[in-house]
């Protein structure tokens, strides 16, 4: 007869059970974050010229980098979910559009995309504005930060679509069947049954994407956004001390990425426990 082996709990499933895992201790890798921060502080105090001066100079760039990364990431999570659902859609038009988006965007370097959005896209809008005689469009000027965020969202949204798709596909079909046969609609079963489980699965790759985005946000420095990298270049241009500048910029990025990695690990651990 069509007997199926009795489903046995995997380690991951066992770890989900409240109380089945040792109590949440502080992740030992936090010492690395502390070490890198300590190194930066020591450099800035012991040799405040140029290190402290560099930090002061680039600090508004840090704010820009954090702002761009955080804002873009929120939109990427939304675009990725829509893209992932689109890739899994049985409607051929939705599936086709989502697949075309993912395949095209993944095939073009991020730097080229950012340059296109900043330099080419406004010209396209202006041309259309001139043809249609719409002065708002004809006089369109790109806002550097907005354009940079749009470029990052478009590119990372495509990668994130694939992350969501894989996560949704990893949830057994029986979960959807059970939800649908209880009378739930497609969206209800996605929202209440599939996505809550898929999100736990995709948390590690989503964390990776976040850190990659944080680093790749340095590319926006070529499209007139005064982020951390661009501020570093500006400092170097006036002071001619590349070793110190780029060591400091690298340290600041490292602090942000290592800190993010620990935060992601913490969230991952927390969501294993049930509400």
């Amino acid at each position: 007869m069509d007997t199926q082996p009795k489903p046995r709990p995997s380690d991951r499933e066992l770890a989900r059970i409240p109380g089945a895992e040792p109590s949440a201790r502080l992740d030992p890798w936090w010492w690395l974050v502390v070490l890198v921060i300590a190194l930066t502080v020591i450099l800035a105090t012991v040799k405040s010229d140029p290190f402290w001066r560099i930090l002061l100079f680039v600090r508004d760039g840090v704010a820009v980098t954090v702002f761009i990364t955080a804002t873009a990431f929120i939109f990427i999570l939304i675009v990725g979910m829509l893209g992932g659902l689109g890739r899994l859609s049985r409607n051929p038009i939705i599936h086709g559009v989502a697949t075309l988006y993912v395949e095209i965007i993944r095939g073009i370097p991020l730097l080229v995309q950012l340059i296109w959005w900043y330099f080419a896209f406004p010209v396209v809008i202006q041309q259309i504005g001139r043809w249609l005689n719409i002065s708002v469009m004809a006089n369109y000027q790109a806002n550097a930060i907005v354009t940079a965020i749009v470029g990052l969202v478009f590119c990372y949204g495509a990668y994130m679509s694939e992350v969501y798709r894989a996560g949704i596909q990893s949830i057994p079909k029986g979960q959807t069947e059970a939800a649908r046969s209880l009378g739930m609609t497609y969206f209800q079963s996605m929202r209440h049954v599939v996505l809550p489980q898929a999100i736990r699965v995709i948390l590690p790759p989503v964390g990776n994407e976040f850190i990659a985005l944080l680093k790749d946000s340095s590319l926006v420095s070529v499209v007139a956004v005064a982020d951390l990298t661009r501020r570093g270049r500006e400092f170097m241009a006036t002071h001619f001390d590349p070793i110190e500048v780029w060591a400091m910029v690298a340290l600041v990025y490292l602090i942000m990425t290592l800190f993010s990695a620990r935060m992601i690990a913490w969230v991952e651990k927390r969501t294993r426990f049930e509400r």
Partner: protein, 244 residues
């Protein structure tokens, strides 16, 4: 008497496999129909066609006067039918209580307190009210399947479908699930069951159907089937499953 499930000349293909080859069947209100047959005979496919988890290629299915022909009707029919799966399919991220209340709240728009009251009554009925706050993974197979039955009953279905509900269970857990099913049958629930539990067939079935190669070979009462089956195929199958 009007049939509550009316299946007429249904065909279903999976690629090149002709899984259902013109199946017609009427199930009346309050009837317990058990479908038996060898692996791959189309039993589960037929059952899954009734609530449209599988779409049939041709033929018609009408449940309680509603034909399965539009998305709206399919959802309406699904609200009248509960299904219990071989692999339980409890929502892994929710507690037992949340498993029982989710669809009540989302689909039937019941208030939280009301849905929890109903859930607790049903958990008591299936004998595990103390497991309300447990997660599915913490339960035995038999307990999970009883939760799955309770979850389906929480929607007040008119019909219950069982797709090999005891096949994935350890032998000592089969009885606890069958007892719940027997109680349900004695309350007059309309049930369509794919199962080879002959004890259940003898005790509860009004009608037994033998399927083979996508067709209904024989349809009879349990007494008739066990004592004097009319088809050679039925005799052969029964001789194997009854270990005579």
């Amino acid at each position: 008497m009007e049939a509550i499930i009316h299946i007429d000349n249904v065909h279903k293909h999976f690629g090149r496999v002709h899984a259902l080859q013109g199946v017609s069947l009427d199930v009346h209100k309050g009837e317990v129909v058990v479908i038996i047959g060898p692996s791959g005979s189309g039993k589960s496919t037929l059952l899954r066609c009734i609530n449209h988890l599988e779409e049939c290629d041709s033929g018609s299915i009408v449940v309680d006067g509603i034909p399965l022909d539009s998305a709206q009707n399919i959802n309406a029919v699904r609200r009248e039918i509960g299904i219990v799966f071989q692999s339980f399919n409890l929502f892994a991220h929710l507690t037992v209580m949340q498993n029982l209340t989710l669809a009540q709240r989302v689909v039937l728009k019941r208030a939280r307190a009301q849905s929890e009251k109903i859930a607790l009554e049903l958990l008591t009925k299936v004998g595990i009210p103390d497991k309300a706050q447990a997660y599915p993974i913490q339960l035995s197979g038999g307990q999970q399947q009883r939760v799955a039955i309770a979850r389906a009953l929480a929607m007040n279905p008119k019909i219950m479908l069982f797709d090999e509900p005891t096949s994935a269970l350890d032998p000592e857990m089969i009885k606890e699930v069958l007892d719940v099913m027997l109680a349900l049958a004695s309350e007059g629930m309309t049930m369509v069951v794919v199962s080879h539990e002959m004890g259940f067939v003898r005790a509860a079935a009004d009608c037994v159907i033998l399927m083979d190669e996508g067709q209904i070979i024989e349809q009879a009462t349990p007494e008739k089937l066990f004592t004097s089956p009319s088809h050679e195929r039925t005799k052969l199958f029964l001789s194997k499953v009854l270990h005579l």
